[in-house]
């Protein structure tokens, strides 16, 4: 990229600059110049920092191996990223209303947030659900709830992402059953299921069964979808939650990819053809506050994944090499103090996702440190994406930051750091082993603690929290509250469903599920039969507990 003579000249010019700059270095605008992840950043990057000789190998072109510049040839010039706001609250009806509101205001994809009982496989009337129903997302107990959530929404015309993990197969089964009722054939359905249990053990901590049977549920689902729901993204291999738990950017990248490779190896071991299932694996990353570190992370992610898919897993289908991803702006970066400032944080984070080439984007609402998003707050979050798309010009060209000395250097660096972690994980025996030994969890906890200490020592300033503090501030934005009646309503509803359904059929389909689970039957197929006759999610999850066991985490500080 740069000829030898130019680089020599550059070296001399750099030396001169360095000498002249020394006059000014006594003054420092802050104690340390580190990324959000704690990585030191140089004062200056120059052509010497770009591995120019390896342009084609490392940077190249969008839509071409190794995809550093983007997974598609024409990226946003042909189609903007999907504006997909993660959303769900209270009752299915309240959630349906919010979905209509978001679609009416220009959202281009749906994303379902479930409540904690649903995430953990409990029905709304389970004793463990007390006080939790509808608080963090929508309560779903049976197909009847899903029908209400998607009322008036044609599943053949919209793509839906569902953030659900331990009972993911059950929720997909319900989604398929809703599609059936709408008359939409499975091969027309588009969407994504998070379904990434490994990161649950590592970070989000929403599990039911131990790793091995959980991975079996996933490979069953992958096989079913390859044959029957070919446009569905079977897993959203996630780094978002790992980052939210406090990891660095390199850890987020490495641990996520390691999880992905674990699923790939499991499916291949199960006899599935990598080129059949890999094109429908997708990823999900955080967009944290360090603007350039995040952009570098996304670019490095595509490069590492493409190489491994081609060289290690010998995938022949080019679509198997593509790391397609959704991005969510960092919830953990938002403050409870002066919440309006969160609009700014979210906007900048979203911009980094766009400049990093994300396929789909969720922008957080300003009030999410206090409650689920109000209508006003989520509207601003959606408008943020629309303004980026239509007013800033950043989507006019593909991967605009390619060639930046800083960004290419950072991309190389984060790639190298992630590769070190990938090697370490492999040396230690793989992801499941690392989870059992607490290695990944401890790395994350260490990083989280270090970050907190940086804040308390004021090496890291968080506006409104440890500087620019307003002692007498009052919150004057609307705050959403989930009424206690939600729990009463949902509890009554699920009991009614159980009473009114054909209980012989319900019993039979559950038994057939257990038979499939004990043997080699496809568990998703069996669950579909269950949900059609209004077996509840809790009943399905409970039926599998005696067969699969229950996961108990050894608490590691």
């Amino acid at each position: 990229m740069f000829d030898k003579e130019f680089l020599k000249e550059n070296e001399e010019n750099l030396k001169k600059w360095d000498k002249d700059a020394d006059k000014f270095r006594a003054k420092k605008s802050r104690p340390r110049f580190i990324t959000v992840s704690g990585e030191e950043v140089n004062e200056l990057y120059t052509p010497a920092d770009v591995d120019g000789a390896k342009f084609n190998e490392k940077i190249g072109y969008p839509g071409q191996f190794p995809y550093t510049r983007g997974v598609h040839h024409t990226m946003y010039r042909s189609r903007l990223w999907t504006m997909r706001q993660f959303s769900g609250m209270g009752t299915p009806k309240q959630t349906n209303e919010r979905y209509h509101y978001l679609l009416k205001n220009g959202q281009t994809g749906l994303s379902v947030a479930f409540d904690l009982p649903t995430l953990m496989g409990y029905d709304s009337d389970h004793p463990r659900s007390l006080g939790e129903v509808g608080k963090c997302g929508v309560a779903v107990d049976s197909l009847a709830d899903m029908e209400i959530i998607f009322d008036g929404i044609n599943l053949g015309e919209v793509s839906t992402s569902m953030t659900i993990n331990a009972p993911a197969s059950v929720l997909l089964a319900m989604y398929l059953a809703v599609a059936e009722k709408q008359g939409v054939p499975f091969d027309k359905l588009r969407g994504t299921l998070q379904n990434d249990i490994l990161k649950e053990y590592i970070a989000q901590k929403e599990w039911i069964y131990p790793p091995e049977p959980s991975i079996r549920l996933i490979t069953d689902l992958m096989a079913f979808c390859t044959d029957n729901v070919p446009q569905w993204n079977t897993i959203s291999i996630s780094g978002y939650h790992i980052r939210e738990a406090g990891s660095t950017a390199a850890q987020e990248l490495a641990f996520t990819l390691a999880d992905g490779f674990t699923y790939i190896e499991a499916a291949m071991k199960d006899g599935q053809d990598v080129d059949a299932f890999a094109p429908r694996l997708s990823f999900f990353f955080n967009a944290h506050q360090d603007f350039f570190e995040e952009i570098a992370k996304y670019r490095a992610a595509r490069r590492i994944f493409a190489r491994r898919m081609k060289e290690k897993y010998k995938a022949k289908n080019e679509r198997s090499w593509l790391l397609r991803f959704h991005t969510q702006t960092a919830g953990c970066s938002l403050t409870a103090q002066q919440p309006e400032n969160n609009i700014v944080r979210t906007a900048i984070e979203a911009l980094s996702g766009v400049l990093g080439g994300t396929q789909s984007l969720h922008t957080n609402s300003m009030d999410e440190t206090l409650a689920l998003p109000s209508e006003k707050a989520v509207l601003i979050a959606l408008r943020t994406q629309q303004i980026i798309a239509h007013e800033t010009g950043v989507a006019n060209t593909i991967d605009p930051l390619a060639g930046s000395y800083f960004v290419e250097a950072m991309t190389d660096k984060i790639e190298a750091d992630a590769e070190k972690y990938l090697d370490e994980i492999e040396q230690r025996g793989g992801v499941v082993k690392c989870i059992e030994e607490g290695y990944l969890q401890r790395e994350i906890a260490k990083a989280a603690y270090r970050y907190q200490k940086e804040i308390e020592k004021k090496e890291r300033i968080i506006v409104g929290v440890n500087d620019y503090v307003m002692d007498d501030e009052e919150i004057d934005i609307p705050i959403l509250r989930i009424d206690e009646s939600v729990e009463r309503e949902q509890t009554a509803f699920v009991r009614d469903i159980r009473a009114k359904r054909d209980n012989d059929k319900a019993k039979r389909t559950l038994e057939e599920l257990q038979t499939a689970a004990k043997g080699n039957g496809n568990t998703l197929k069996a669950m579909l039969d269950c949900v059609r006759v209004y077996v509840t999610m809790g009943e399905i999850c409970d039926a599998l507990k005696p067969i699969f066991g229950e996961y108990i985490e050894p608490p590691v500080i």
Partner: protein, 139 residues
């Protein structure tokens, strides 16, 4: 040499977000406390029993799920019932201001909001436990 203050840190209910409580655990441990971490998915029963069994001076509870108005009162009731309500009960998470007022009125000793430094919470527990022990000596 004063005895180490013993605290139980707990995550009640279904909430699995443990970044905060782990930071608190590390900070309190570094500050010289004896820290027992219960792990996730504890019922109020499990928490209170563990607190009594481990003979702790204080219980720190983290709730980000919105279930605080169910879980804190349940813990308070059990502490009273088992005559363990001399144990300092503090906590943090996502708890609206007016719920904080209500819960502190019910008997929760102190609730901290996002942005609280670990130092602040450490100083609070040292002071609260110290005062409680002084009161008990006098009584």
């Amino acid at each position: 040499m004063p005895d180490k203050i013993r605290i139980l840190l707990a995550k009640p209910g279904l909430d699995g977000h443990d970044r905060g409580i782990k930071v608190i655990a590390a900070a309190f441990r570094d500050a010289g406390f004896e820290v027992i971490y219960s792990g996730l998915r504890q019922t109020p029963d499990m928490i209170v029993n563990a607190a009594i069994q481990e003979d702790v001076d204080a219980i720190g509870v983290s709730i980000l799920s919105g279930a605080h108005m169910t879980l804190f009162p349940a813990i308070l009731d059990l502490l009273k019932e088992k005559k363990a309500d001399n144990i300092i009960l503090f906590g943090g998470g996502i708890i609206p201001d007016d719920d904080i007022v209500a819960l502190e009125k019910l008997g929760v000793n102190k609730l901290f909001t996002p942005g609280t430094t670990t130092e602040e919470s450490i100083e609070y527990v040292k002071k609260a436990v110290g005062e409680r022990k002084k009161d008990e000596k006098i009584m």
